[in-house]
Amino acid sequence: MASPFSSFEKSLIRESCLQEVAALRSRVNRPLTYLGLPSPWMGDITAWRPHLGRVLAVEMEERFIPDLVDRAYTLNLLYQLFYYVGDIDQILQNGFDKYGHTLQDQFPIDLVNLDYCSGLIYEGFERISALESLFRRQAMSLSNRNLKVPYFLLFITHSCHPKAGKQRISKEYIKYLVKDIDFYQDNLRETIENMANWYISDNCPLEYRHKAFVFGKVLQFAQNTGFQVSIENAIAYKGDNTTPMIHYEFEIYPHSLGYPIPADSRIKIQDILDWPVVDVSGSDIASSDRPRLSTI
């Protein structure tokens, strides 16, 4: 039986992430702590194995635990594997899994790979709240323990299938993003308006709307918890059964942890909207008529 979650394009993305993983490993000069949803096939861990130390694997299905452990054994990671059973969103929010295993002790994490196979925006918005919890837990652990880390890597992947989650929200979010543009200078305001109009038009691929939503939320949570964000990539690709997927890569820098004033971010609304979503070959997936900052 072939491994799922290992389409050709997915493997290319893992290869591309490997460079970032290796760079962080080299920067911190120690194996990295990983938190993610590796599934029993552990495709990401297999690709990044040489750079990993502790592996915190969250698995929703209890019946897959033996397979997860088998894979860890064959990767010589048996004792570095810490598995958590349950929904990662709830585990991130509650801090413990179905068995009561606490997660907070394992923070800070160097590499977070939220590799969802479904969508991101669902009723209750637990997935979004979980992302916020992740930032809070990272900040809490770094500031409480007074640890110095250069940055951590955050990879997020989710489905862009029209039926995966509430697409309407991402559209509404665009309107929210540009609600204050009346204060902008005329030419910039006009550019942003053009961009926003394109985003809510039928010409905009769903991937772009998701990108704007995810970038915006990551930026918001990072700022509120004292981190700054460096966006590295937004890649659209075909997952299993050619499902449209999108993958994001961020470097998250500690800036003013524990400080009551949100970290100032270098990324503005126009950057969020302008950032391209590319395919695995690096080409923009939007048509050439997409409004861009550089074209203004």
């Binding site: 039986m1 054994y73 064959t74 048996l78 004792y79 810490f82």
Partner: protein, 554 residues
């Protein structure tokens, strides 16, 4: 009916449906009580797989990951193909393993985990095949179903129940062609078992004592023992690398023992039945850790039963003192005789003529150990107590010489003197040579002093010496003291008796005397025992108080 017809016999016929599912409860619930013994069964299977794989270039290794509520056990044996896995797991009480060449041979060890975990899953990938396969027993639901049927007075044939609650993957799962392992996953282990497992240090110690592992490198004599075991019968000694949560598992011996002694049990024809080693505590004391005391029985490096088995089989003899002396030892006895068979659950030996001979021979051999421990104990006690006795006699001598002995103290002094003198005489032959001379002088001095104390008064002289007066006053008779001393009571016990006798003279009621005895017992307890100096000092003080009171009423 002709007699031949009357006596004719034929085989009783058993059909599959005649063997009921309650046997599963017996196997799972009755054979293995403690979790380390359940793990031992899986370790044994892994051990057999690893040691039978002649072509392997890797060091045999078992990895155990304890991750509540699950335990995962991996071995780097050759693994099993789908057919081998199915053949192995679908047979109960049938084993292709020849006895002697392997550790297990009953074919039921694989079911050991059914009592412990809700689900027992065995995954295996055979070296050279790009797949892994899985067999699982849903133990929790199976045992529940059996219990429910039992309440309704129903029962299924054992094969029906096992089929209903076991699973096999339909499609082989992808795995690296080089991968070779068998993994036992004990999933959702019952809370009752976790209590024992969570006491992690004790659990690992128990596991280290039953698993085929090397001696703890921190143990001084580990290299000596390793060398001994490898030299005498290497075919019986196959220690593996076993890791629990990444930490090496060893035989957890402690230091503070004497150099190991070899032991070998031979039958009447001089054939080896068992061999092993023991270490005695370096002082005349019990091995401090109760888990390590005594001699464990092993076969191919895997424990048979618990460490108490040797005692249960009668290998230590039957006298209470002999049983106690084996607490001075820790060691291992490897059974090498292929005719000595184990019980199905590996908890004991199956009684047959050979085993009975083994028990007799082993008892004879091990008796030497208890005798040695007894002698060692007496020597140790003698070397500890003789200086105290000598000191007692010297102190009395000094007090008599300097006149520092009060009249009230004479009776107790006499008793102490007699006790010290006789104790020295009793222990003389166990004393180190360098102490014997001092002991002889002390005994002679003691005799002289006693003569002084009990010199009979001349009848014509009405007045007695003050010392003898006092002795008579308290009716202390030297013959009584000597008689008591022959009962080998301790000085403090003797003091206690005296104090109680004075309390009688003071006119204590039986109830008061009873309470007084309880007080003496309590003082003994808080003093740390009746043979302690502290207890003796308390008694001496009580005696002084009582004597004062006695004098008031005279």
């Amino acid at each position: 009916m002709p007699l031949e017809d009357f006596l004719e016999e034929e085989n009783l016929k058993f059909a599959d449906e005649d063997i009921g599912e309650f046997l599963i409860s017996v196997i799972t619930g009755g054979l293995y009580i403690e979790p380390h013994l359940i793990l031992r069964e899986y370790i044994q299977n892994s051990h057999d797989a690893i040691t039978a794989w002649q072509d392997s270039t890797e060091v045999g290794r078992i990895d155990i990951k304890i991750d509540p509520p699950n335990i995962h056990i991996f071995d780097n044996g050759p693994g099993m193909s789908r057919d081998e896995l199915v053949a192995s797991m679908s047979k109960v009480g049938i084993s292709s393993k020849p006895f002697g060449a392997t550790s297990g041979f009953m074919g039921i060890g694989k079911l050991a985990g059914l009592s412990m975990a809700e689900r027992v899953q065995i995954d295996s990938s055979k070296y050279g095949t790009p797949e892994k396969n899985r067999v699982a027993f849903n133990a929790g639901e199976m045992l529940q179903a059996i219990d429910e049927r039992r309440l309704q007075g129903e029962s299924n044939p054992i094969t029906v129940t096992l089929k209903e609650h076991s699973r096999l993957n339909v499609h082989p799962m992808e795995e690296s062609v080089e991968a070779h392992y068998t993994a036992v996953h004990l999933l959702n282990i019952n809370d009752d078992y976790w209590k024992a497992i969570n006491d992690r240090e004790i659990f690992l110690k128990k596991l280290g004592l039953v698993a085929p592992v090397k001696q703890d490198p921190a143990f001084t004599y580990a290299p000596v023992i390793e060398e001994l075991l490898e030299r005498i019968a290497p075919e019986q000694y196959y220690p593996l690398e076993i890791f629990v949560n990444g930490r090496s598992l060893y035989r957890p011996w402690g230091n503070g023992v004497l150099r190991p002694r070899e032991i070998e049990i031979l039958d009447g024809s001089g054939n080896q039945m068992a061999y092993g080693w023991v270490c005695q505590h370096e002082r005349s004391e019990q091995i401090s850790d109760p888990l390590l005391r005594g001699i464990g029985l092993f076969q191919r490096g895997i424990a048979i039963g618990e460490r108490s088995l040797a005692e249960e089989l009668g290998l230590y003899g039957s006298s209470p003192s002999s049983l106690i002396y084996f607490r001075w030892y820790m060691g291992e006895l490897y059974i090498t005789d292929p005719k000595i068979l184990l019980t199905a659950n590996r908890m004991s030996l199956r009684r047959n003529e050979r085993v009975i001979e083994f028990i007799q021979r082993a008892e004879q051999e091990l008796r030497k150990l208890s005798n040695a421990a007894a002698k060692f104990s007496q020597q140790d006690n003698a070397s500890k107590k003789a200086p105290l006795d000598i000191q007692t006699i010297q102190e009395v001598a000094q007090k008599v010489t300097t006149g520092g002995l009060s009249q009230e103290m004479v009776p107790s002094t006499i008793r102490r003197l007699v006790s010290a003198r006789d104790d020295l005489k009793k222990r003389y032959r166990y004393l180190p040579e360098e102490v014997k001379k001092d002991a002889t002088q002390a005994v002679q001095k003691g005799d002289e002093l006693l003569k002084q104390f009990i010199t009979p008064p001349a009848p014509e002289k009405p007045s007695l010496s003050p010392l003898v007066k006092q002795a008579n006053l308290f009716t202390v008779d030297i013959s009584d003291v000597e008689r008591e001393n022959k009962e080998d009571i301790t000085v403090s016990e003797e003091e206690a008796r005296k104090v109680l006798s004075i309390s009688e003279k003071l006119g204590f009621s039986p109830r008061e005397q009873h309470i007084f005895r309880l007080i003496i017992d309590a003082i003994a307890e808080v003093s740390g025992g009746r043979d302690t100096e502290k207890f003796a000092r308390y008694l001496q003080r009580i005696e002084e108080v009582l004597i004062t009171e006695f004098r008031k009423i005279q």
